[in-house]
């Protein structure tokens, strides 16, 4: 037995036959439609638009969303999502799932809090891969401190007039709509609303952030709102209740990121072990040197712990009682594990790992975006201790 991506995954008694089948079929899709092109897309800095309808057809975009809007929810649970996030991470090009699946953070505000009219208008084309939606929270003036955001939306008759800007917005260049956090009231969290802003509105403009450490394939953008008039029907949830909308969005995003980060760490393990079994130094295989064997064991140990932690959190979600503090710390556990595995795998691979084109080289560059995006490690720890009532 070796330590490849599959054999390094501990058994999960929650998985049934259809979960394994989903993994098999999704992997076939990814192996034929994405992996042969992944590196080129990353180098080119974008993904062809045709990938979205294909991902919709295989069931990836609609996974877990209501059937009435073109999603697939009947019989679908957290384990299907975990598998999807693992398999997308296995590509080893983080910008692809980040951009392809960005509706995973952009659409839930609409579906969870939007009016029926808004849901019916927005969700079907997004889940069919025909239109794109992003989430706009972070601003040039501040990110993690959501309660201090400065983009304003002032009511004027049947419209809000939006001024300000958003940055580091994944999927921002391609988005047809952005679920945007705006200030409609006074200072602090109580003055924040969520507004769905169409990107074809007058006064909207954007620039691509194409010089990034990682996630090259992702169309990350800065968005500018200059007297953008948005119909009041596009308000998501109640006015000044936006903070709640934002906060309820985070658990799902963090679980998806944690699942992906563990799988990315596992890719590093797989690549490192394969190399260590082949490469000979000082008359024996790298894998026969104790110092290398210990690295492999430490990687696997941390991956095991992260897998078990992910499973427990998904079990609490399935049981309907997730603990946001535990999920916040899971995200930290996962990014630290990914960081450790990327580092150790790179040490084992040596020079070949430093060359562009290997999965480990890319994953190494994409540690930080995972450790910062979706809630930085520092914010996660702070949130957890507050959740625990310390």
């Amino acid at each position: 037995m070796s330590l490849d991506f599959d054999s390094a995954r501990m058994p999960n008694p929650n998985l049934r036959e259809e979960h394994h089948e989903w993994r098999t079929q999704l992997r076939r899709f990814i192996d034929s439609e994405i992996i042969p092109y992944a590196e080129d897309w990353d180098e080119a800095g974008h993904i062809p638009i045709e990938l979205w309808p294909k991902a919709a057809a295989v069931g990836l975009l609609g996974l877990g969303y209501p059937e009435q809007y073109g999603g697939i929810s009947e019989g679908i649970d957290s384990w299907h999502s975990w598998i999807a996030n693992e398999e997308l991470a296995r590509i080893g090009v983080g910008g692809i799932p980040a951009s392809l699946m960005v509706h995973g953070i952009g659409l839930p505000p609409v579906l969870n809090w939007g009016s029926d009219e808004l849901k019916e208008r927005i969700a079907p084309p997004v889940l069919a891969g025909e239109k794109h939606i992003a989430l706009g929270i972070t601003e040039p003036g501040g990110g993690s401190d959501v309660a201090q955001l400065a983009t304003t939306a002032v009511r004027d008759g049947d419209h809000y007039v939006v001024n300000g800007s958003k940055t580091f917005i994944t999927g921002g260049m391609r988005a047809n709509w952005v679920s945007t956090a705006v200030r409609t009231g006074g200072e602090g969290a109580g003055g924040v609303s969520m507004l769905l802003i169409p990107t074809d509105a007058e006064g909207f403009s954007r620039t691509q952030l194409d010089r990034k450490q990682g996630w090259w394939a992702s169309d990350t953008a800065t968005l500018y709102f200059d007297d953008v008039r948005v119909p009041v029907e596009n308000l998501i949830g109640e006015e000044n209740q936006g903070f709640l909308v934002i906060m309820t969005n985070f658990n799902g995003e963090r679980m998806a990121m944690a699942a992906a980060m563990e799988a990315l760490g596992r890719v590093c393990l797989e690549e490192a072990v394969e190399w260590a079994r082949e490469r000979k130094t000082f008359g024996k295989r790298l894998a026969d040197h104790q110092v290398i064997r210990h690295k492999i064991a430490q990687m696997k140990q941390r991956l095991n712990a992260t897998q078990a932690y992910i499973r427990v959190c998904f079990e609490t979600i399935e049981a309907g009682n997730p603990n946001p503090g535990d999920i916040a710390l899971l995200k930290v556990q996962a990014s630290e594990t990914m960081e450790f595995c990327a580092r150790e795998a790179m040490q084992i691979l040596g020079g070949i790992g430093y060359m562009r084109g290997s999965r480990v080289e890319r994953i190494y560059r994409e540690v930080r975006v995972n450790a910062i995006g979706g809630g930085s490690e520092e914010i996660m720890r702070d949130l957890a201790t507050r959740q625990y009532g310390v």
Binding site: M1, E17, E18, Q25, G75, I76
Partner: protein, 250 residues
């Protein structure tokens, strides 16, 4: 037209198989199993016939223990309408499989039976031909193209000399070669729908077949490890080695 497709559960083609330590068989412990790739091509062809309006119903049949229901479900997710499992122990030899399939053919009366030309475990390449003989149906093996033409079937076969096209009277048996089609992947909605499709289980006795054995597996061993090659200094040395070591030229 009713189409019957046979699917076999085999070790996934990505898996590097190992022999058991005692050499009695291939080690299947914790090994990923899948539909035999040639059988998957057979399912795809049947589903395409259905999508083209030629086939009215596609039935996927597998022979083996309960685990092979997974492969039937995969075929259902790929587009087959219902499934049949003939429950036996695993490792039934080709003649018995052909007899059991003949039993299913008698029950279902399909116009067309599509099988993989061989399975990637036993590599016997026998079942389709045996079924054709037992059921007294014409056969088009190693198909790279299948065209329905009224009550006839034109099958292009990949033979050593090139391509041969045969015209068969329906009902007929077809076995698939690699280039017949590229199988699709099943979507998540279809995987979920497949769970609800009908799957009947028969025993060999239900089909009037007695499971017998004419073959005994003596031993299984891995292929000899390839020795590393060498670099020759010049052409003279190459010729010398080909002459005196490899003895392939004189």
């Amino acid at each position: 037209m009713k189409v019957l497709v046979a699917v076999k559960r085999v070790v996934d083609y990505n898996v590097k198989v190992r022999a058991k330590a005692d050499g009695s068989d291939v080690d299947l412990n914790n090994v990923k199993m899948a539909i035999n790739p040639f059988c998957e091509i057979a399912v795809e062809e049947a589903v395409r016939l259905k999508e083209a309006g030629t086939a009215t119903e596609v039935i996927a049949v597998s022979i083996g223990d309960k685990a092979c229901q997974e492969q039937i479900r995969t075929a259902l997710a790929l587009g087959a309408d219902r499934g049949i499992q003939v429950e036996t122990e695993s490792n039934v030899e080709p003649l018995v499989v052909a007899k059991l399939l003949k039993g299913v053919v008698d029950k279902e009366q399909p116009q067309l039976v599509i099988l993989g030309k061989q399975s990637i475990d036993g590599d016997n390449n026998q079942t389709g031909q045996m079924l054709g003989a037992l059921a007294n149906m014409p056969q088009g093996t190693f198909a790279s193209e299948v065209v329905v033409d009224g009550d006839k079937l034109n099958v292009t076969r990949e033979v050593d000399g090139g391509l041969q096209t045969v015209s068969l009277n329906l009902p007929a048996v077809v076995t698939t070669d690699l280039r017949l089609n590229e199988p699709r992947y099943a979507s998540l909605p279809n995987i979920m729908k497949a769970k609800k499709k009908q799957l009947d289980v028969y025993s060999p006795a239900d089909l009037g077949v007695e499971v017998t054995s004419h073959l005994t597996q003596v031993s299984v061993e891995p292929p000899a490890e390839r020795q590393a090659g060498i670099k020759v200094e010049d052409v003279d040395q190459l010729v010398d080695k080909l002459k005196n070591e490899a003895k392939v030229i004189s």
